[in-house]
Each structure stands twice: as structure tokens, then as C-alpha cells.
């Protein structure tokens, strides 16, 4: 087994699709939380294998897409400073800020570097003691172990010219925000498998109970997603609302205890603004007091900066599953991956970009 191709077998996918048709008697709205799953669903046409009444709603699980305009503007402000080497995952470089993006800062002479792992930027800090190295720490629970480790190691090794611009978001509070909204359409969730690989899925039991929604922890390959959908519809049809684990080859209930220990040592829970959605209480990670010297926002005096979101991009509605990308006036007209108006068009995990790439009509 290589754990990829086997899970893309078209025969098995077809069989799953038939079985889903057989058990479905009603219309159901199911949200896949994670952008990686959205990408796979649109790429492999999984939604097209489902009964007409099954509506897959694409969730807010793309960190590039939900990072607030305010943080993008902060990153641009910091990256523009002469003494700074600004490091980021590649997908953040093209996210439009109020006036420009990080790539433009680079074109104007800023030292902006794409790094694959936050530990790479820590190494850059060691190699450039006369510079300030800032890492754009975006992501869900999946990047938290890596980002926490970079800060932890910086402290252990006494590296002081390193800091992170923290934009960490957490999945369960976002799911709760969606469920508690009066516009909510979601009746069942496919929870993001890799988030659960880190955090386990104990957090979902109270959510499933309180909102009476089935939650199925689901992987990323086509057969994973089809099985997750099958399990979710089966629960809905039978009137159950349990937490189930489709992705047991990677996820266990307790999560990765070593990773959680380092995350909790470095970060604590705090409020976070989501792009297009607004502030959600206790929905992000911020640095613990002991690590506050590594907070780039404070280091560069930007803690009080406030930026309002523009109105024309409806990505906030798309992230909550209230609209599909086609329903945006700008989609594929003035908004394209080359000239994105909103973050959901930038990241390959963003719903607008996935539709543009695989469904442009």
C-alpha cells in the first residue's frame, strides 16, 4: 500500500456512489469543513456522483482564505521594513491586502521569502543575526505543531531576532459559529481529518450533541470522502447524530499528545477575526505570556492596527456555505487566480479557485 492510489479506485468509487443513492431518501446539506477536501471534491467530481438532493457546502477550512485583511496588511507593513526578512508559506504571498500583496513588496525590494517549514525561517534567523526574521504563522491545528516548535526552539536556543505574526485559527469554534447562525443550512459535517490527526476528536462530541448534527471525521482521498458522505447520510436518514471516524488509519480519538503538549506550551486560545466572517470568540491561538517576545505584531508596534473588510467580495458568504462561487458577480470576470479580489480565489484550497480551475463554464 502507498496510501494514495488505492483510495482513488474508480470502480470502488462508483460502487460507493450507487450505495449512497440507495440509502438517500431526502435532501441533505453536508458541509466538508476542510479546503483540502473541497479541492478533492471539485477535482474528482465527487459532488457529481451524488444524488441530486445531496448538497455539499464548502466550509471555511482554508487558512489562506480566512486570514483577516488586517493581518495581511500587518504582514505587508512588516515585510516592507528594511531590517526584516519576511518568511511565509507560498500561498500567502498573493493574497490581496488593502493596497498590495506580499509579492509586490518583494518586487519593490522587500526581502520576502517563501519557506516550506517554519523551521527553515528559524535557520534563516540563525544565519542572519543582524536582521529581524518574521514568519507568517497562519493555519489551522495542522500547522500549529510546526509553528509552535519553531517558537519553542527559538527560545531554547536563545534566538532573539525571530518572531511570528500569528494568525492561527481553530476549526471547532468555526463549526459552532456556523451551526449557531440563524442562516445555518448545515445538517451534517465531514470533519477535517488532518486537524483531528493532531487534536483528536473529543471536542466534537458536545457539538454533535448540542446541535444534533452527525460529524464524521474524514480523510482526503476520493474513497475517504465518499465513505464519509455515506456514513453521514446514513446517520441523517436514521435520525442519529453521532461522532464517527472514517479516517482511522491516521486519526485516533485522543490526537497526538506530544504535538498537543508543545502547542499548549507555546500557544493559548484567544479571539480571532476571520476574513469575511468577522470576530469569533476563542477561535484562534495566540502566544502564551512566556513567549510574548516572539509576537511580531507587538515587536513591530502593530497590535492596535484595525482594517475593515471590503464589501464587493462575497467570500464570507461562500465560507459559511450560504453562496457558491458562481453566484459571485466577479467570479471568473474581474476576479481570477491571476488577479484575485478575494483570498478564496488565491489558495488552491479556496472554493473560488477550485471552481475556477475545474468548473469554469
Amino acid at each position: 500500500m502507498k496510501f494514495i492510489d488505492e483510495y482513488r479506485d474508480p470502480e470502488a468509487a462508483k460502487r460507493y456512489s450507487e450505495l449512497i443513492h440507495n440509502i438517500t431518501t431526502k435532501k441533505w446539506n453536508i458541509m466538508e469543513v476542510c479546503g483540502g477536501q473541497t479541492h478533492a471534491i471539485v477535482k474528482f467530481g465527487i459532488d457529481e456522483l451524488l444524488p441530486k438532493g445531496i448538497n455539499l457546502i464548502h466550509g471555511p477550512g482554508c487558512p489562506v482564505c480566512v486570514t483577516s485583511l488586517e493581518l495581511i496588511d500587518k504582514s505587508i507593513e512588516i515585510a516592507s521594513r528594511e531590517e526584516v526578512i519576511f518568511c511565509s508559506f507560498g500561498d500567502m504571498l498573493r493574497v490581496p491586502g488593502s493596497k498590495k500583496d506580499l509579492l509586490q513588496v518583494k518586487a519593490e525590494g522587500g526581502d520576502v521569502r517563501m519557506t516550506y517549514s517554519p523551521l527553515d525561517s528559524l535557520k534563516i534567523a540563525k544565519d542572519n543575526p543582524d536582521k529581524e526574521i518574521v514568519f507568517f504563522a497562519v493555519g489551522f491545528e495542522t500547522t500549529a505543531p510546526a509553528n509552535a516548535m519553531a517558537v519553542y526552539q527559538a527560545k531554547v536556543q536563545g534566538i532573539e531576532n525571530f518572531s511570528i505574526l500569528v494568525s492561527h485559527v481553530l476549526v471547532p469554534p468555526a463549526m459552532e459559529a456556523i451551526l449557531s447562525s440563524k442562516h445555518n443550512l448545515v445538517q451534517g459535517f465531514l470533519a477535517a481529518g488532518h486537524v483531528c490527526a493532531v487534536m483528536g476528536y473529543n471536542e466534537y462530541f458536545p457539538l454533535a450533541e448540542k446541535y444534533k448534527v452527525p460529524i464524521v471525521v474524514t480523510g482526503f482521498e476520493p474513497l475517504d470522502i465518499l465513505q464519509g458522505i455515506y456514513m453521514c447520510i446514513k446517520q441523517l436518514e436514521e435520525g442519529r447524530h453521532e461522532v464517527e471516524n472514517q479516517y482511522s488509519r491516521v486519526v485516533n480519538k485522543e490526537g497526538n499528545s506530544t504535538a498537543m503538549e508543545i502547542i499548549n506550551r507555546v500557544f493559548k486560545i484567544g479571539s480571532r477575526k476571520w476574513r469575511g466572517i468577522g470576530e469569533i470568540q476563542d477561535s484562534g491561538l495566540v502566544l502564551q505570556d512566556e513567549y510574548i517576545n516572539y509576537d511580531a505584531s507587538l515587536k513591530f508596534g502593530l497590535a492596535d492596527m484595525v482594517v475593515e473588510e471590503p464589501k464587493e467580495c462575497i467570500s464570507g458568504l461562500i465560507l459559511q456555505g450560504l453562496k457558491k462561487p458562481f453566484e459571485c458577480e466577479a467570479f471568473a470576470k474581474i476576479c481570477t487566480p491571476e488577479r484575485p479580489l478575494g483570498a478564496t480565489m488565491v489558495s488552491s484550497e479556496g472554493a473560488c479557485a477550485a471552481y475556477y480551475r475545474y468548473r469554469k463554464k
Binding site: 488532518h194 488509519r249 506530544t258
Partner: protein
């Protein structure tokens, strides 16, 4: 960015410090250095799920076939039901 992919551990360099255990991991032939701090149980030949340079978990081989077993099981149930009708 959230895309985490399975890769096979080819070798492990143990520096003595668990938090900086590094493995050479092959992703369909492309080999990368991966930090194994969070998977202290991982051994050579194991598959790990890797995300931004860190292994998040090992892939459990015995659980890995469950997707197919589940399909077979519900498939079998269907047939049984059809025969009964």
C-alpha cells in the same frame, strides 16, 4: 497549505534529542527531510502523514484497509437484502 501527504520513512537520524529527530521520507520517489518530533514511535519503513515539514502521525496499516472492508461489508448487506426481496 493544509495538504498533508503520506510518505515512507527511508532512514532516521537520531541526534539524541527526540525533538529534533529527522527522517528521510520518500513521497513516491521524491525524498525530503522530515521532522519526526511528534511521532516518536515511527520507525524505518513506516508511513507518516507529513505537513509543513513535520510528521503529524504514523499511518496505521491495519486500519488502512478498513475503507475497503467497510465497502465490502455494506455491499454484502445490500446483496443479502436484495436476495431476501
Amino acid at each position: 497549505m493544509c495538504l498533508a501527504v503520506p510518505g515512507k520513512i527511508l532512514s532516521i537520524v537520531d541526534s539524541g534529542d527526540v525533538l529534533s529527530r529527522i527522517g528521510k521520507v520518500s513521497f513516491g520517489g521524491i525524498v525530503k527531510d522530515v521532522n519526526l518530533a511528534y511521532t516518536p514511535e515511527a520507525k524505518v519503513d513506516d508511513y507518516v502523514i507529513v505537513h509543513v515539514g513535520f510528521a503529524l502521525n504514523t499511518v496505521d496499516e491495519s486500519e488502512a484497509v478498513k475503507v475497503f472492508e467497510y465497502l465490502k461489508a455494506i455491499d454484502g448487506l445490500e446483496e443479502l437484502e436484495n436476495e431476501e426481496q
